[in-house]
């Protein structure tokens, strides 16, 4: 008689979900599924609203990465206006976007995942959290707090507040950067750079100790997707999509947002509110995509900043072809924090960064608009249609976490196959199932545009459908 294990809720992720592990008659794992159990439906909610409200409305999807939605939404609105926004405005949006990447990655790495790395996957769950890290590794905890603060403070200085700033608007940004704030941010750069370099140095001394996790945490061939600049460097704000295979071969390049329906399809799962987009020409199996930090570092030819380029070269030396283990999302995330700090510095050194012309004004000139950018967790797309009055008729949002859904499911299965023994859920096994999901840093509020609490449930179910064990957090 087969059995099923359910983990519900999953902890230390952004959102509400559960995992079901199916055992066969011999007690071996035969299937494992990651279910996202929250729903909100922003696409429907925004119908009949003026398109100009979309950046502010969609930013409410998430409290962690509202800037990502602001950026993608504003770009879709720019497209509706058919304007090219001022150079300075584009760079200011880039700075805010990078600040958010830094703060979101810091939250993921230090607050959510570092307890596993520092205290051990099998350590007492009562201590295995950010407060346990603070007790045992106060230096690292201080670096985590400081790096998150770095990103948050830049967002606040630019947008007036750290959560849901309404500063990125259709046509540009609502106000220029002041000389005082420019100097303040510049003054913060050296400290942030020092802290992330220190963290990277430490991480490189410890991650190889997680051999088993590296080998089993969603470690399989897949496609990797993200935006790249024309010169092949990292792109977060604009650029075009590139897709590489597991060997690192480019299989598609120069893809534009407006053509996304030609290369992306969304599969709907019966047991989850999270859709599963995949690379359409290859179908859901061969077209399984991964996006986010690991994917971005796998698709680029270089980062484009000096220190991050050095780290990236070392990172890519780990594996011939693409780096496949999702455990290395952590490593990639840290390299992107370093890139983010350097990139902000580069952008602040642009001679026009204090220019006061920061917004293009126009009425809608198109009925359909597309906006694509890289959010901390991967590629984000907003697609809008409006009527003659500029009222929203239809919206489609394809969220980074969705792209990773098929890979997360496969990763949960891989971990369960390796670690689950018998019909009871042991703590180390439970945590590894959660930890493989955590490597992707999924944002379920974004990906289902949902409301919910951070939580996890794991169920163990037999072949007859009888629930043998359930663990809830």
């Amino acid at each position: 008689m087969g059995r099923t294990i359910t983990i519900d809720p999953i902890t230390r992720i952004e959102g509400h979900s559960k995992v079901t592990i199916q055992l066969d008659d011999q007690g071996e794992v035969s299937d494992a599924r990651f279910h996202v159990t929250q729903f909100r439906g922003f696409e429907k909610m925004t119908e009949q609203r003026p398109f100009s409200e979309m950046p502010s409305l969609t930013a409410r999807i998430c409290g962690i990465c509202p800037v990502s939605h602001l950026v993608a939404s504003a770009k879709a609105c720019d497209d509706l206006l058919a304007v090219t926004i001022p150079h300075t405005a584009a760079n200011l949006r880039r700075i805010m976007n990078m600040a958010q990447v830094v703060q979101s990655h810091a939250l993921s790495f230090f607050h959510l995942s570092s307890p596993d790395l520092l205290l051990g996957m099998d350590s007492d769950p009562a201590n295995r959290n950010i407060f346990g890290v603070m007790q045992a590794y106060p230096d690292l905890a201080r670096d985590g707090i400081a790096l998150r603060q770095f990103g948050q403070q830049i967002i606040e200085l630019l947008g007036g507040k750290r959560i849901h700033p309404a500063w990125i608007v259709p046509g540009g940004v609502s106000s220029p950067l002041t000389a005082v704030h420019h100097a303040t941010i510049m003054g913060m750069i050296p400290d942030a750079k020092m802290r992330i370099q220190r963290t990277l140095s430490w991480y490189k001394t410890v991650f190889e100790g997680f051999t088993e996790e590296i080998r089993t945490f969603a470690n399989f061939p897949s496609l990797f997707m993200g935006l790249v600049e024309e010169d092949g460097s990292l792109a977060f704000y604009d650029g075009k999509l590139r897709i590489v295979d597991a060997m690192g071969n480019i299989i598609a390049d120069g893809l534009e947002a407006k053509d996304y329906r030609d290369y992306i399809s969304e599969r709907v799962e019966p047991d989850s509110y999270l859709k599963s987009p995949y690379y359409k020409p290859l179908g859901p199996e061969a077209g399984l995509l991964r996006v986010g930090p690991l994917a971005r570092l796998n698709i680029i030819d270089k980062c484009g900043t000096p220190l991050a380029d050095q780290e990236w070269a070392e990172f890519r030396m780990m594996h011939r072809g693409a780096v496949l283990s999702s455990f290395h999302y952590h490593y990639a995330r840290l390299i992107e924090v370093l890139y983010g700090v350097e990139r902000i510095e580069q952008l602040l050194n642009d001679p026009d960064i204090l220019h006061t012309r920061v917004r293009a004004h126009a009425q809608p000139n198109r009925s359909e608009g597309f906006g694509m950018s890289e959010a901390p967790r991967g590629t984000l797309l907003h697609h809008y249609r409006i009527d003659e009055q500029g009222l929203m008729q239809w919206a489609n949002l394809i969220i980074a976490t969705g792209y990773n859904n098929l890979a997360m499911n496969k990763g949960v299965y891989q971990v369960a196959r390796h670690f689950v023994r018998g019909d009871q859920i042991e703590e180390g096994m439970l945590n590894r199932v959660e930890a493989v999901i955590r490597t992707f840093d999924p944002c379920l509020s974004c990906s289902t545009h949902a409301i919910g609490q951070m939580a996890l449930e794991v169920s163990l179910v037999d072949a007859e459908g009888e629930v043998l064990d359930v663990v809830r957090r």
Partner: protein
């Protein structure tokens, strides 16, 4: 910074935004005081606390836990005592006492911290606080200013 006032809550949930209103009112009256508005307390607040030389006043709204409940607009005030760093299963919520403990534990110093709580009655969707809470705001501001003078 010398003194810090943090108003926290959700300004889109009616009375829960009272802390933000108080922060605005204090900022208008006391340009010498650093003022911040937050949706919730987060770990980096511990770093801010460690940088304050004077007094920190946190302003929050809460449902009355007494039976019978206190009426909306009631003001409670207490000094926050540091709680040692200890495990917590839920890292999305940080208590005022734990923040003070974090300031001590991670940064080696922490100021006197007071928590002013306004009893709310309407936590529904919408901006603007209820009449009862609105009427209490001048008293809350007065209370905050008294606390700010504690070390001056």
């Amino acid at each position: 910074m010398v003194n810090l006032v943090i108003g926290y809550g959700n300004p889109l949930r009616r009375d829960d935004g009272a802390g933000w209103r108080v922060a605005d009112l204090v900022a208008a009256r006391r340009p010498d005081v650093a003022v911040r508005q937050l949706h919730q307390l987060v770990p980096e607040v511990a770093q801010w606390l460690s940088e304050v030389e004077g007094v920190v006043v946190l302003v929050d709204t809460a449902v009355s836990t007494l039976n019978p409940p206190e009426p909306p607009g009631t003001i409670q005030c207490q000094e926050v005592l540091p709680e040692p760093l200890q495990p917590s299963a839920f890292s999305h919520h940080v208590s005022t006492a734990l923040l003070l403990g974090m300031a001590h534990g991670l940064y080696g110093r922490a100021p006197r911290v007071f928590l002013v709580t306004i009893v709310g009655g309407d936590f529904g969707y919408g901006e603007g606080v209820s009449t009862a809470v609105e009427n209490a705001l001048p008293q809350v501001v007065e209370q905050v200013e008294k606390l700010l003078n504690k070390k001056e």
